[in-house]
């Protein structure tokens, strides 16, 4: 029992509530939220370190013993995700200070920002499948508010689709939870895992597994349920788009990884190597083809989210410790780099006033620092050594060949090539060529805007150069989640 585990959920909650009260004082809001974000960063680093040293920390909320009450479980995967969440949210928050207009700030931007963090952190920590649904809803409700925030016509039209698909998926989620409850008679994930192991994963439990996969796939933007993503992420300001692009789909992927390593792991030839790998292949190919066909900075990045979510799911689908470790590493790499790239899109938009690549050009002459930082992130995303992208794709594809999954591994290599192509398209259109922005725009100072992005770029370099220790860590994470008995023992204490 340790109340430490609840802190990543209640600190943003309290701050969100306080910020509602001070909604009209935007300077005070910035100060409070800035300090909170940094505090959360320190807290999550400490928590990750503690779990790494002493093993899982479990909190039985309200003092109801598991499996009757709701438990919060901080294992290595959860604390890693918490840490990434606070890194990304801090970067996005400091970027938002400079880009989100004060009109928008007054309409409860920061409270919703923190309630989003509450939902995300809660989803990572909870050990109860219905509670997972609740935290998903907390996250989604805040994201609905943030995605229409500002209320432009485009945002309203596209976020309507976002809301509809998510409400539908949430309804399916409840159906899936109810069905699982009617079969196993419990909601505690560790307890469900035990019961499913006793029942053997056949017939109806396989159906429930696929239903959960569909639910989380629509939240995580997998084929064929990704169509809402590119258009709805295009609308909101860069800080919000970066937060969503870095964070939200990955919560869906986290849920897939959690459910398919803890509960439905008995039939890997059908669920993992069959369905998940196939879906991952389609997701990667169609996502990257979408990106290649686009001519808009933010839209290309949005389509890349889809193709890269495919890699993570592919790692899970191959289902060896090496592949899952690769997937974990990939999530780390992707969350950091993708957020950085979206923030770069915001910075270039500040200079040129557009995100259409055909109307940009020659930025490398007027803003060389921006250009080279973008270049590092872009080739990191495409998987060029020595950056993190290479070291995260390598184990996944290697494990694919080891397991005889030649087709999917070949697809993954091809998709990496196309990723490189479309990132170079952005680079050559926006940064090379003739200068298309006016000389006044060229004087736009962006030094302050780059400050929150530089740590992210530095992290992708560090993740690449220090790949060995970080890969060891992901391997530990993957060994821990591939052995569900560790999780079950820490929750049920048997």
């Amino acid at each position: 029992m340790s109340n430490l585990v609840i802190l990543p959920i209640i600190i943003p909650f309290i701050i969100g509530a306080v910020l509602i009260i001070f909604a009209k004082h935007h300077r005070l809001q910035r100060v409070i939220s800035g300090f909170t974000a940094v505090g959360m960063l320190i807290l999550t680093i400490y928590l990750a370190f503690l779990v790494y040293q002493d093993g899982n920390i479990v909190l039985e909320a309200s003092n109801w013993p598991a499996p009757f009450g709701i438990v919060l479980v901080a294992d290595m995967l959860a604390t890693l995700m918490l840490l990434l969440t606070s890194i990304i949210s801090t970067a996005c928050l400091f970027f938002a200070f400079q880009t989100v207009s004060s009109d928008r700030e007054k309409f409860y931007f920061y409270p919703f920002f923190f309630f989003l963090i509450v939902g995300v952190n809660g989803a990572f920590l909870t050990g109860d499948i219905f509670n997972l649904f609740v935290f998903f809803e907390v996250m989604l409700l805040s994201s609905y508010a943030l995605i229409v925030h500002g209320g432009t016509k485009y945002q309203l039209r596209e976020s309507f689709k976002y809301v509809i698909i998510n409400v539908f998926a949430s309804a399916l989620f409840v159906v899936a939870v109810a069905w699982l409850y009617s079969v196993t008679g419990t909601l505690n994930m560790a307890h469900i895992s035990q019961r499913v192991a006793e029942l053997e994963q056949t017939g109806v439990i396989n159906v429930i597994a696929i239903l959960f996969f569909i639910v989380f796939a629509s939240k995580g933007a997998l084929f064929p349920l990704y169509f809402w993503l590119p258009r709805s992420y295009y609308g909101p300001p860069a800080a919000i788009a970066a937060l969503f692009g870095g964070l939200l789909t990955k919560v869906g992927i986290y849920a897939i990884i959690r459910v398919f390593t803890l509960i439905f792991y008995h039939e890997p030839t059908f669920t993992h190597k069959g369905i998940i790998v196939t879906i991952a292949g389609f997701t990667m190919v169609l996502g990257v083809l979408g990106a290649v066909s686009q001519f808009d900075f933010k839209r290309i990045l949005s389509y890349h989210i889809i193709s890269q979510v495919g890699y993570m799911v592919m790692g899970l689908g191959i289902f060896t410790p090496l592949a899952v470790a690769g997937a974990v590493y990939y999530i780390v790499h992707h969350m950091i780099v993708k957020t950085a790239l979206f923030l770069f899109a915001g910075a270039t938009e500040r200079i040129t006033g557009t995100t259409d690549l055909r109307k940009m050009g020659g930025l490398i002459k007027t803003h060389p620092v921006l250009a080279w930082l973008f270049f590092i992130s872009a080739i990191s995303l495409a998987g060029i050594p020595p950056f993190s992208g290479f070291f995260s794709k390598f184990p996944i594809i290697l494990a694919g060949f080891q397991e005889g999954q030649h087709v999917i591994s070949g697809i993954a290599l091809l998709v990496g090539l196309l990723t490189l192509f479309s990132m170079m398209k952005i680079f050559s259109y926006a940064f090379w060529g003739k200068q298309k922005h006016t000389s006044e725009q060229a004087k736009t100072p962006i030094g302050k805007l780059l400050l929150p992005i530089v740590p992210l770029v530095a992290l992708t370099i560090i993740l690449g150069i220090a790949a060995e220790p970080i890969f060891q860590y992901s391997l530990l994470v993957s060994e821990q989640i591939m052995d569900p008995s560790i999780y079950i023992e820490s929750v049920l204490k048997e």
Partner: protein, 144 residues
């Protein structure tokens, strides 16, 4: 058509009395909470409906003058009260949100069960009143 000054004396006089009953009943529902049907959510909704009836009978300005705080602030305060009850148990070394109850003997009332869950319900109550009123007033103000 010429807009006439509305003749709503009956409505206004009766509403002044009726809202008192609605308030009283909503407070009863709020206290009934955790053991019987009721609780912060239902009580809050009923209180919101009582305030809404006042808005219908009188005009916006009068009621805004009578209720001098903003409903959005109420949401924030409610959330803080609810989370504070959870944190209180943390301070005494129990897990988050642990609740306690005991029976006390009061003159006039007799034996009464007092619980810490009531404060959590109070938080929920304030959030529900605040949220319901914010939503309704936001829609109502669209007309202008």
């Amino acid at each position: 058509m010429k807009l006439q000054k509305p003749n709503d004396v009956m409505l206004q006089v009766s509403m002044r009395v009726i809202t008192l009953f609605i308030f009283a009943f909503s407070f009863y529902l709020f206290l009934a909470g955790h053991n019987n049907p009721g609780g912060g959510f239902i009580g809050g909704l009923m209180t919101a409906s009582a305030i809404l009836v006042l808005y219908l009978a009188f005009d916006m300005k009068t009621i805004t003058k009578a209720i001098p705080f903003s409903f959005t602030t109420m949401i924030g305060v409610g959330l803080l009260i609810a989370v504070a009850t959870g944190i209180m148990s943390m301070l005494f070394g129990y897990p988050f949100l642990t609740h306690f109850f005991d029976y006390f003997l009061f003159p006039l009332f007799g034996e009464v069960e007092l619980t810490t869950a009531l404060f959590f319900d109070l938080g929920v109550y304030l959030v529900v009143v605040g949220a319901a009123m914010t939503i309704i007033l936001a829609i109502a103000e669209d007309d202008k």
